[in-house]
Amino acid sequence: MSDVLSLIIAKYNYWLYVILMMIGLYGMIAKNNLIKKVVGMNIFQTAIILFYVSIGYKTNASIPIITTADTAHGVVVRAADYINPLTSCLMLTAIVVSVATFGYAMALAVRIYQRYQTLEEDELRMRLSEE
């Protein structure tokens, strides 16, 4: 029993990120409304960010900022005391990319609605085949 529990604790973060990613991907492919698709896209991207942040986590480690007390007395910085800063850095970039895509996709949705008065994909397809 304790083996199973420790396995779950060790891995559930990765499992749940996969589930979250599947939800996002499903929303992106199967949903009919364009804005819902955009939401699915964003969930998909945040799931990836969750994955990266999970990689960077270390147990019993602090946030990646040196306190002034450490720097003042020339204490040697131990790597195990701080979480991995690299993944955080990468994910800052990824968040920025995702918000840029989100904003632009919303603008596109507004533009499409202006033209076709609908955001449902099947209705759009019907309108297109009529023309």
Partner: protein
Amino acid sequence: MHWPIDIVVLTFVIFCAIAALSVKDLLATAILFGAYSFLMCLLWTIMGAVDVAFTEASVGAGVSTVFFVAAIFRTSRRTKD
């Protein structure tokens, strides 16, 4: 040991994600999506990635929701799925 908090928040995150995708009112989706982002930000704070969490709080729960509501204001709340 953060894992009990972590697992509770993760479960909430997944509920929010499913709810945001299945609600039939887009304004509700916007709010649920904001909640999702905020819970995600909480999760990352627990894991110590404060910068990422800060960004997500200001972007995901803040500006994204505003863009979302603005887009709904200009399109429609109605959706079939």
